[in-house]
Symmetry: C2
């Protein structure tokens, strides 16, 4: 249960006043994201797949032939960062960049057979991560948060 | 209205399948956090204060004499990263690190007069950022999200 070892608030000897941070959605959104990512990273450490790598593999796997620009636009990843991410996944032989049929300058992305295997494992592990989150947050609060955030 | 220029989902020529990402709270928490931070950074660019620097200044301002360990524990910032953050704020003469009265090895943190001025300006700008968020998300959804995340 990795979440047990990384509580959202650590204990502190002193009661610390958060002042206006108590009225800043960004502060709490960041805390939630860091907390979730720590658990995700720990659960997927055996296959060394980061949250960003996971989202890239999932979207390539579900949309074969997608271009880098489409992938960047979908995930909201900065172009330069995506290039580094894809390069690393290509070095690990998890993805391939092929010239697109439609346009020789575009690169169509696809998973290799190893990429498919790693993605299947990553999906299973991330499903366990998600089940842990739901348990930890409570099914009702989990559902409320997921629906509210998905709507945005 | 910086938010108008950075929509949460960019348009894409192709409808892209998010597959299991639709069932991952961490994916949407990250999108929300990045979206909020982009607006925050843009609104506070005139005074060059990042979200992390802002949270550090707010908490020091509201809890004079706080130690680095207490600050790290409160904000959930990794120790090495906090040291870099504090060093930068000290270089800009916004904070001071003083030997604690209670324990000579501890550093008690406090704002300088410049730090107080910058913090007051940062609070005002971040209040505008927050009002923009509330308008953009709708008051009801904003309240729901803030309360749900604050509870965690």
């Amino acid at each position: 249960m990795p979440l047990r070892t990384t509580p959202l608030r650590r204990r502190s000897a002193r009661v610390v006043d958060l002042d206006v941070l108590n009225q800043r959605l960004g502060y709490f959104a960041r805390r939630l994201q860091v907390w979730i990512f720590q658990d995700f990273i720990s659960r997927l450490s055996a296959i060394d797949i980061s949250p960003a790598q996971f989202s890239v593999l999932v979207v390539i796997g579900a949309n074969e032939g997608l271009s880098q620009a489409e992938l960047a636009g979908t995930l909201g990843i900065e172009r330069a960062r995506l290039v580094r991410l894809l390069h690393r996944l290509e070095q690990r032989a998890l993805i391939q960049r092929l010239p697109s049929l439609a346009d020789g300058r575009r690169h169509a992305l696809r998973l290799t057979r190893d990429g498919q295997r790693v993605l299947a494992r990553a999906k299973a592990l991330s499903g366990q991560h998600e089940a842990g989150l739901m348990k930890r947050l409570g099914a009702e609060r989990y559902r409320l948060l997921l629906e509210a955030l998905r709507e945005l």
